[in-house]
Amino acid sequence: MKNGYNQMSNLNEIIKPYIQIEGGLMPALHAIQEDKGYISKDAISELAKCFNYSKAEVLDVLTYYDDFTLEPHGMNTVRICRAEACQSLKSKELTDDLVSHFDIQLDETTSDSKITLKEVFCLGNCALGPSVMINETVIGEANKDKVIQFLKEIE
């Protein structure tokens, strides 16, 4: 499942189901991130309005978490696991390979907006590392070729 870029769906409609839920700001942020690919200033204003928070309060919460971004991600997010079990199976070399191949650093997006590279600490696939998650698919015993192959297949 790719990062959403649904510019047509209405922010208020996305947020509405979560307003009455206790702690609903978190699932509302997830819903917007999934639909739009990032949390825009408009989304922050709409969330503030719907939850009766200040914009600062919304910003406070969303910037704490890695999953919510203020800028759009690329169409595909490639998360490389850098936790210990994957380290034991050369995740560092894999990271270097992918950084070199895509010619961007971690937390950056390619100029064609297709790929965002990120690090992640543990995908729970520690038994068959090094692991990479592309959108919601985990690749075990990963290497540069498998990642490139998978990206080709989902295009």
Binding site: Y65, E84, Q87, S88, C122, L123, N125, C126, L128, V138
Partner: protein
């Protein structure tokens, strides 16, 4: 005839979904039942595809095998039989375990509620509902169960505290934010036996008087999210969740909440902040969550495995469980053996096993074939054992006595290509990246820790930097708000002590 192809993150990561597509499209598949089962947790054998014929079920590993030439099911069966398939329950890796909590993973479709019931599922919930809530708590106390998330706190005592609070509203919160590197037991239960967790949550909620449960799942587990969402839905439709469960007076609903990329939200108070829709900052204690927790109400917080252990305890396994081990190390622990190890996977055994035995019996040797140099136990806040410490027992007490902990049960093997100074640097780097930022020793200390270790990597004998590192570790340990900052020095101390000369030359 049935064909089993697992649908689980690790199996899929090495092609299970791909094989499912191929086999689903073979001629003749219409006459065969294709089951997407859970994983058996013997991950080095994944994707483990099985065939059941006339009550005989055998399988084999299909990793990296090219089946693109197959046209019919007969083709597949011919290929399958040529690979000497075997009964997975007969291999040492599985046979020598004591699977009480993980007894059903791999059997069949994790969402097949009838299969779950046929294997004892929901009998414990039925039994619990017929007992007084205090009786349920007494049984948990009797079992000797302690928290499997890392704190090893007696579960029964925690339940008693929540039970005794005088509040009409109480909550249960299941901590499924399994963030430690080298751990996957929570994920495996959630994907391959989700009803076990749901049943455990329902029983625990009944025991303490909670009417609502929050299941806080990390966002890095999308497949677990799908399985849990479906399992909760099925349970609701079958009167196993919701109002008047199994025609009793007990109402209980589960609300699945997803994290958003923060390790600290696996700390119980930060988790509560996150569920309440806030920044995942750590709260001070007192008050204890059991007294004043989620939304200011008494809240029972337990780890996934702890909750999934409760149903077997009420369904015949109590004496088996409580008869194993002693002290805080009673019962079984689902160790997760991984990293650079040939036979990686889920190993549920008693605690009274040494790390050497764990490797000899279950893991065998490194995947690379090179000698083992270090073993990390208990995740990023645990410790590193050297190859000379293989007789160390994996009990809570034994590891605590060398300033370590069982933690979540993760065991990561490193061969001799590992640079221990890099591991020490990672301990501080991880802390700095995941720090919530509230308290100074963790927020600033962790960054300084990375910087000091980088200098030590250039000159291991710099007395000034060695002194700085010791001071820093002591300060973080003595003044941090939570275990994140407070225990980050532990892996570093273990590297200094167990690998002399590899980080510091004192």
């Amino acid at each position: 005839m049935k064909i089993y192809i697992p649908n689980e993150t690790t199996s899929n990561s090495v092609g299970a979904n791909h094989f499912n597509t191929i086999i689903s499209n073979l001629e003749g598949i219409e006459n065969i039942e294709l089951v997407r089962n859970g994983s058996w947790g013997a991950f080095w054998l994944e994707p483990f595809i099985e065939v059941e014929r006339d009550g005989n079920r055998i399988g084999t590993c299909y990793k990296d095998i090219d089946l693109s030439h197959l046209r019919t099911i007969e083709d597949f069966l011919g290929d399958f039989d040529s690979r000497e398939p075997f009964d997975i329950s007969e291999i040492d890796f599985i046979k020598k375990q004591k699977r009480i909590v993980f007894s059903r993973i791999g059997l069949g479709d994790p969402l097949d509620i009838n299969l779950y019931r046929e294997n004892g599922g929901f009998e414990s919930l039925k039994k619990a509902l017929s007992l007084e809530s205090q009786t349920v708590i007494d049984k948990v106390k009797e079992s000797g169960l302690t928290g499997r998330g890392g704190a090893a706190f007696p579960t029964g005592i925690k339940m008693q505290t929540v039970h005794d609070q005088n509040s009409p509203i109480k909550y249960l919160a299941c901590n499924a934010d399994e963030g430690d590197g080298g751990t996957f037991s929570d994920r495996l239960i959630m994907e391959s036996d989700p009803f076990a967790l749901i049943e455990g949550m329902a029983i625990a909620a009944y025991a303490v008087g909670a009417s609502k449960g929050y299941l806080y799942l990390r966002s890095e587990y999308p497949l677990a999210k799908r399985f849990l969402t479906s399992a909760i839905d099925i349970a609701n439709k079958n009167n196993l969740l919701g109002s008047s469960i199994l025609s009793s007076n007990f109402d209980f609903e589960i609300d699945l909440r997803i994290g958003a990329g923060s390790y600290v939200c696996g700390e119980e108070t930060a988790m509560m902040e996150s569920i309440e829709g806030r920044r995942g900052l750590v709260r001070s204690k007192p008050p204890l969550p059991a007294i004043n927790g989620l939304f200011n109400k008494p809240t029972l917080i337990n780890n996934v495995v702890t909750l999934a252990t409760i149903p077997p305890l009420l369904n015949g396994s109590l004496s088996d469980f409580s008869g194993m081990g002693s002290g805080k190390s009673i019962g079984t622990m689902p160790f997760q053996l991984c990293g650079n190890i040939l036979q990686s996977g889920l190993v549920e055994t008693g605690f009274d096993i040494s790390i050497g035995e764990m490797i000899e019996i279950f893991g065998k040797e490194t995947k690379s074939g090179k000698p083992i140099h270090a073993v990390q136990i208990g995740g990023p806040l645990g410790l590193y054992l050297s190859s000379e410490m293989m007789s160390t027992k994996l009990t809570v007490e034994s590891l605590q006595s060398i300033k370590g902990s069982v933690g979540h049960g993760g065991i990561v093997i490193f061969d001799d290509s590992v640079e221990m100074s890099e591991q020490a640097k990672f301990a501080m780097e991880f802390c700095s990246k995941e720090s919530c930022g509230k308290c100074t020793p963790c927020r600033i200390g962790s960054i300084r820790g990375v910087e000091i270790i980088e200098r030590l990597q250039k000159d291991k004998s710099s007395q000034e930097d060695i002194g700085l590192l010791h001071d820093l570790c002591q300060t973080m340990e003595a003044t941090s708000l939570c275990a994140m900052g407070g225990m980050t020095p532990n892996p570093i101390y273990s590297i200094i002590n167990n690998f002399p000369g590899e980080l510091t030359k004192e």
